[in-house]
Subunit: 339 residues, 2 copies
């Protein structure tokens, strides 16, 4: 059996008795082709099992259907939800997603932007506002729409959709105070820019209320995890045993803190209030259920794609170019302190 060559546009054209460009049009904008040609062409495509060559089409048209997505982590549940939102919105379109993982390194991010741009993507989605200067430069001159996600506040390169991390931390701090906790601490891991912003505002609110105690601020540069949450609470309780509540900068830290509390026979919420961040599915199913800040992760992904597609189809058509999707506090048992 002959090693059969993949069929090309020309093969389809000669089989259906039309020109190559008519075949191309049948595929890309069938309404511009007479029904007669269309049917012939479609039959030929079917018969040959023709699929267009993406490289050739990209080269000739100077553009692709690739949407580049740059995230700092693939293991963080937060970005898993963003991915779901992105894929959900892209699924019914002709675009497809290519993921880059910068591993929380601005330099790696810059390199990845360069790689993405080599393929002339239709659009780019990048996490955060903390690109290097060269990276920002690349994004500005990318020649395609760009959406920055997961944060809100600073002016975007092109468009942005996210939420305020300062507002989130304020909600958490006020909630703990309103619940009557007077010696609140905070656990934070990884210390990326968004985490730092939450940490700082939490401190501020505590300071305003006169309850800030730096012994209760415990951080680590390591990635956040349940194990790290346990360790950080341990450290916190060593430094300040009378701590009565803790804002965990991530839900996995919160779960770890809860487990460590169990182990120490500390009662949650009586002895220790716990508030998480992100409101992952697990938090509501812990025992006791965990109070957390709900973040619109899935929506961020969806919305980013929608903005991108609108802008690709009609440049400068997107009016709202900087979108705050907001956060909310979901109060549950872990802070429901009996008065």
């Amino acid at each position: 059996m002959k090693p059969k060559r993949r069929p090309t546009l020309d093969d389809v054209a000669s089989l259906s008795g039309v020109s190559a460009i008519t075949v191309s049009r049948t595929i890309r904008s069938p309404e511009k082709v007479s029904e007669r040609s269309r049917l012939k062409v479609q039959a030929a495509i079917e018969k040959l099992g023709y699929t267009p060559d993406l490289a050739a089409s990209a080269l000739a048209s100077k553009s692709t259907n690739v949407i580049g997505l740059l995230v700092p982590s693939l293991t963080n549940n937060v970005f898993a939800d963003v991915l779901r939102g992105v894929y959900d919105a892209v699924e019914t379109t002709r675009y497809f997603v290519q993921i880059g993982n910068s591993r929380y390194s601005a330099l790696k991010e810059e390199a990845l932007i360069r790689v993405f741009l080599r393929q002339k993507p239709a659009g780019l989605i990048v996490a955060g506002f903390d690109q290097t200067d060269p990276a920002l430069n690349l994004l500005e001159t990318a020649g395609c729409p760009v959406v920055q996600i997961m944060d809100f506040g600073r002016p975007p390169v092109d468009m942005a959709v996210g939420f305020r991390h300062d507002a989130a931390a304020r909600l958490a701090a006020r909630h703990l105070l309103e619940c009557g906790y007077r010696r609140p601490g905070i656990l934070a891991a990884r210390m990326d820019p968004r985490t730092q912003s939450r940490l700082q505002v939490f401190r501020e609110v505590c300071a305003e209320a006169g309850v800030l105690d730096e012994r209760r601020v415990v951080t680590t540069p390591h990635a956040s995890s349940v194990g790290v949450g346990r360790q950080l609470l341990e450290l916190l309780l060593t430094q300040a045993p009378d701590t009565d509540a803790v804002f965990c900068n991530n839900d996995d830290l919160a779960i770890g803190a809860l487990m460590e509390a169990h182990r120490r026979n500390l009662h949650v919420p009586e002895d220790l209030g716990i508030c998480g961040f992100n409101d992952l599915e697990m938090t509501r199913n812990m025992f006791p259920s965990l109070t957390s800040i709900a973040t619109p992760r899935f929506e961020v992904g969806r919305r980013a794609v929608e903005m991108l597609l609108a802008e690709i189809e009609a440049p400068d058509s997107v009016a709202e170019r900087n979108v705050d999707l907001g956060v909310s506090l979901i109060a549950r048992d872990s802070t429901r302190r009996p008065r």
Copy 2:
């Protein structure tokens, strides 16, 4: 300011006073170019900020540096770890990864394989052995190496790396019996082929030991989650209140089961033994710590890429084309029953 066109190979060639092909060679195989030319070309590339156009190179060479990765889920922590392994192995090479999400649909998977093949990928990684017939056909004639991952047993289309799900379930069942549990149940969600295989073997082992009771087999087609774990345990204990142990087909089910046990004031491991599957980071940090079956998820991703790259560089060079990385049971407090 002129909207500057992206520099091309020809631009670099004329600036450095050599031909386009010499520039191309300087980039792809610098050892074939005289040092003199090389230096001139590199200077010109630097000066112009030239980066090769991927579409043009793909079209001319009939191949790309894309490694396609097809997973059934992006939110499942299991695949997050596989992704990490894949990215880890790819990072230092000239290849890059493109992810497709089939959402546990064989038809969607088939469509995605078609999309991937249009770009003439350098290699393909797909989860499982349960492709549709047309999909298998596509993979066989893909014209690039293919690695099937996450399972072991059936003959692969080309290559495979994974582990035995039957062996895993056998380990779990025997462990529960050895710990002295006599009324074991099983919780399972999603019911993909690998889950079903674990379920079946668990049943078999229980039957052999004379302790199989179908009231203790509780499943759901829904995706697995902590909340679902709670619900399934609730259902199990309604149907068979005297159940004394449970094998959870996923760690999040196990965590949910643990939480539900806490809520009911059931003591783990005394009243109820719990064994999970996958050994995610959380399990060892629960309280009590959860026994689980450790699966080599990260290694599967890494190894798949290594096999792929070896095969791309030198076809038919990979000797071991069907690799079982094995599983192991990590016994922890959740099954440590006092005799």
